[in-house]
Amino acid sequence: MVKFSEDKIKEVEAIIARYPQGKQKSALIPLLHLAQEEFGGWLSAETMDYVASLLSIESIEVYEVATFYSMFNLNPVGKHVLEVCQTGPCMLKGSDDIIGYIKSKLGIGVGETTADGMFTLKTVECLGACGYAPMMQMGMHYKEHLTPAKVDEIIANCYNHK
């Protein structure tokens, strides 16, 4: 059963209180973020139905939103999701090489997860870090000025802090 803890429910209530009465649907995206963090890094249909029930809206309203935004994962992902930017400014600074390097290092393609469930590789479009390119997002944070050596270090760190 998908269910928030009491603490999280308090957080949910605080989020809903940001909006005028009756406008609780506005809390949908913040709640989906919260649910994705809580329930394994992705949104199952069950999770989305649960969020719908918290906001008293139809499930389809949640599906429509969750499928629109690129940050919501609709399938299980690895423990760490490497989201490498590939748009123009990053491409100018060698993002294609970084993507190639990660692929060969982890032995996976874009959109795939390593067999040990540690890493999922994704390509994304401009994340607003063009001056610090090439870059990728990992969870809540950005890893910028990437080089193969830096990628090695980041991946090693993930294994060390398992």
Binding site: A45, M48, E58, I60, E61, Y63, E64, T67
Partner: protein
């Protein structure tokens, strides 16, 4: 004292008329009728919030109003732009509009499977009409056409997503006409699709109306008794006492059989009164209905090819006419047409279908 309704003067393709305040350019054009009416693939007067999306109804506003005569810098969607007093609009008299509309039609047909030969909507499809009027003979698109995973919407409604033009009408209909919406637009951009996300039936009452509002063959009636071509069926107006809806429908008959029930549509192809699921899906016997008479088909589409209204009934019987031959046309169309070969799923062919596809499958069979 009742306030007098202000009348606004508007000129469309050099024809001037007066309309009440709040009228859109498209509505004003429809009051004039004929060729000055822009095609409208997404707007639906009975659905609040509809329109603005397909861009087929773009027109040029060459004069904004009497008060501010400047032309509007861009073409505007006539379905969502209100008339101002003194406004001058160009539709078919504007080369810019014709050019843009050709572009829009090309975009709409870009990923369309062009599987009209096997589409239930063929003959009453607004996209087909639009393509005839504005389309080019050959597509300039040489890439794989978009495909989607198949979704089952339950026993009543068939979804062919590749044909969908994302007009959103069915979404508005579910919101405004039925009591619950379980389908919607999922994903975004060129992946956007009509779906339910997890398998769900569209079966709540009045949901059948999505079939009637769909301008293309993306949503069709699964209970349509035969894969018949609409132009071989005979539309008649009929009614019954119904507790849920007006019970006023159009029956698509062949002989004594009711192949399909739809709502009655006006000259713009819009439903006059929404009908309930029971009338649409469950009442398939002529005896369920009181027949009123032939439906007046106004649109210049292939449906009117039949000219049923003024048709004189032949005196001979069918078998006499056929004189021993089998009346093939009214039989399973698959047996006579290679285009309708059931082993070929036209919508699954990547790129335009060519004769090779059919030759190939003939060899196989």
């Amino acid at each position: 004292m009742a306030e007098e309704i202000k009348k606004l003067k508007v000129t469309i393709d050099n024809i001037t008329l007066e309309v009440p305040q709040g009228t859109t350019i498209l509505q004003a054009a429809r009051m004039i009728g004929g060729d000055v009416v822009p095609p409208a693939m997404c707007y639906y007067s009975k659905l609040q919030g509809s329109g603005g999306k397909c861009r087929t109804c773009l027109v040029e506003v060459s004069k904004g109003s009497e008060a501010d005569p400047r032309p509007m810098p861009k073409l505007v969607a006539s379905c969502r732009t209100g008339v101002m007093d003194g406004m001058e609009v160009k539709n078919i008299t504007s080369p810019k509009v014709i050019d843009a509309r050709n572009g829009v039609v090309e975009f709409l047909l870009l990923n369309h499977p062009l599987d009209c030969p096997i589409c239930d909507q063929a003959g009453e499809c607004h996209l087909q009409d639009l393509g005839y009027e504005h389309g080019k003979e050959a597509t300039r698109y040489e890439f794989k056409r978009r495909t989607f995973d198949k979704h089952d919407l339950g026993p009543y409604i068939q979804l062919h997503m590749t044909r969908c033009i994302l007009c959103y009408r069915c979404v508005f209909t579910a919101d405004q006409v039925s009591n619950k919406r379980v389908h919607g637009v999922l994903s975004r951009g060129d992946h956007a699709e009509i779906a339910t996300y997890i398998e769900k039936s569209l079966d709540n009452d009045f949901i059948g109306n999505v079939i009637d509002v769909c301008p293309v063959g993306a949503l069709t009636d699964k209970t349509f008794r035969f894969k018949n071509r609409v132009w071989f069926t005979k539309p008649v107006n009929a009614h019954r006492d119904c507790k849920c809806c007006s019970g006023k429908v159009t029956l698509w008959q062949r002989g004594e059989e009711v192949l399909r029930v739809t709502a009655r549509k006006n000259q713009w192809g819009e439903v006059e009164k929404w009908i309930c699921n029971e009338c649409r899906f469950e009442k398939k016997k002529v005896s369920d209905w009181v027949i009123e008479g032939p439906t007046h088909v106004n649109r210049h589409s292939v449906i009117s090819q039949g000219h049923y209204e003024k048709m004189k009934k032949p005196t001979e019987t069918f078998s006499k006419v056929h004189d021993g031959r089998k009346p093939k046309l009214l039989m399973d169309i698959h047996s006579v047409s290679e285009v309708n070969d059931p082993s070929i799923d036209l919508s699954a062919i990547n790129g335009p279908a060519t004769s090779k596809v059919f030759e190939h499958s003939k060899k196989q069979s």
